[in-house]
Symmetry: C2
Amino acid sequence: MALIVQKYGGTSVANIERIQSVARRVVERRKAGDSLVVVLSARAGETDRLLALAREMSPDPDPRELDVLLATGEQITIALFSMAVKELGAEAVSMTGYQAGIITDHHHGEARISWIETIPVMERLNEGKIVVVAGFQGYDDEGNITTLGRGGSDTSAVALAAALGAEVCEIYTDVEGVFTTDPNLYSKARKLERISFEEMLEMASMGAKVLHLRSVEFGMKYNVPIMVLSSFTDAPGTLVTKEDEEMEKVVVSGITYNRNEARITLTDVPDMPGMAARLFQPLSDEDVNVDLIVQGRGSVPGKANISFTVPQKDYDKTMRVAERVGREIGAGRIHSNPNISKISLIGLGMRSHSGVASKMFTTLANENINIKMISTSEIKISVIVDEKYTELAVRVLHDAFQLDKPPNERIRIQEEF
Amino acid sequence: MALIVQKYGGTSVANIERIQSVARRVVERRKAGDSLVVVLSARAGETDRLLALAREMSPDPDPRELDVLLATGEQITIALFSMAVKELGAEAVSMTGYQAGIITDHHHGEARISWIETIPVMERLNEGKIVVVAGFQGYDDEGNITTLGRGGSDTSAVALAAALGAEVCEIYTDVEGVFTTDPNLYSKARKLERISFEEMLEMASMGAKVLHLRSVEFGMKYNVPIMVLSSFTDAPGTLVTKEDEEMEKVVVSGITYNRNEARITLTDVPDMPGMAARLFQPLSDEDVNVDLIVQGRGSVPGKANISFTVPQKDYDKTMRVAERVGREIGAGRIHSNPNISKISLIGLGMRSHSGVASKMFTTLANENINIKMISTSEIKISVIVDEKYTELAVRVLHDAFQLDKPPNERIRIQEEF
């Protein structure tokens, strides 16, 4: 008898019928012998509905009270779901974040789980009950309700799995797993059987929305295997797990894209120590998350051009800061482009295989797609291109790296070069 | 600086505008110097909406999970209200039943408050904050969420006022106070300035829906004055308080009616010890709350007729029990009437004034209203009449006892007889 933590997202519990359908699935699994902790999100649309209510009350709602408000979304789901399970003749008990002992720091709206008091959940599991936990929420050491931020239910589930020593954390969602790229964008996208935590981290932070970034970090830190699968089919999902030899042989595991960034360039910045800090510190102070930064030579010696990307939603704010700082430090012009896209190749095998970057650049060049910025890490290469080339870039790269084929059927890159 | 507990019902916080309006009222009061604990209900309609969701899931939803579900209604209100207060520049902090230390027994859906851990609320009051508490909810000693039943927010407020030693508990509602009778039924109804706990208890249990019965019991037990007033006007309300000499002089304080009862009569029940128990024990076992019981002589010696009233919703269930027991004990026929109404006169002065009953019967007889059952207590006389006479009976009794006039302007009953 294994202990399994399952998480179902908002679309999986969007209405009465879907909650009942998930309840049937869970009860069957329980009858097969597994101990189950089920972590649930708010019904699809509920969080947005509550946010809209808060915004009617205040353009900038108090963060503590916003968490009190939002936490009701999951509380409704766990109550309805537990009723559905009992209606099927099985035993269930719902637990809010507080009741399930999920303790966080004080950061309302973006709280991080600091530890989990597992006794309450363990006790109810030992009674043979299906324990139904409200995802996305916890409480701080002063007893205030906190929430973990968008997608936080994934983190609740993986953290519970880690704390309870569960065999696996199953994340049920509206897709069948992790794909080589977004299947909505390219129909040749192939579902991955397995992927390493590190690759999944890069995929999540690069824009793949299958898993919440912090849940992957938790899984990696505590080595909790995460299975991503669909709540609407019985298709096998994707296992996110620690890397092994087989994985390392795969050069490119997936391609992600992100259309929600904007690029800003300051030209002819005096090339002196401290200039970067004078620009990026005020952006950090305004909570702007700068992504790529590239510094190159300016038009005259002693001057440099600095390009960087920020989330599109922070574009106006960033432009105001850039214009102010540009004047203060005597920079040249400011160029900006809010219509860019970031395309990233991700794969553990890049560590040991050369030639990935040049194949990527050649492939894009063959389609006359101009690369505006490049950034690389050990297992990732990202390029910035015009937004209009997003689909084309993803497709030609997917073809070039043969991602539609299983890894063992691909022609190895080295052999081509 | 006084400590005041205020409670606002569902209609007072039904939407954003009303929540803002109540918040303005509360902030003004705080600025005037009082310490404030504000107890809120769910927005009007919210509890019914949640109940409907639960009923979609199960015809008989699990009581524990139903409480988890319903408790979200008040949690939403306290969060929105606290945001509104902060938007007005004052300090507020919301507290769920759990956070406010409201501890109850285990009776989900009808829990009784066993004690209140006041330290969390006191601490926040001492910080100068307006403490905004979710009414209607608490938690049991195992940490389960409980609810207090319909109207339970009144009880939350009065219990908090008692535990905190508040000067008064103000119950804001959609009427201006307690009236001599339902103003919707008779426009001559007069608002009472003061009424005793005991009279209010009778009024509440007889169908006046201004205050929740248990909140009055709490007020009486701990001697917390309760002020009933409107959240929509600045009109003075009705003070419910312990009785004094002035109150005792008032013969009749109010008239209530209840159309939601049904009458059942078993004829020719063998007049032997234990017969009543054989009928009423099975009803009690089925949670049917029998109200009036009258036993009289049957058609032959040694037989008795037993009439009783039950809530209309329990009519079918009661008939099944009555028919079964009737056969078992060899009773005669069963007569029933689901269309009856109970009219009650209530007043402390009845204790010392005779003539109230006969004046009541005469008044009704003059209108050819047939009395089907009579029940009296120290400060109350109730009669059962045909439902169609409800309005007429209330109006003629209201006139006969001059309830439209202040007590000191009424002609005393003794002088008439």
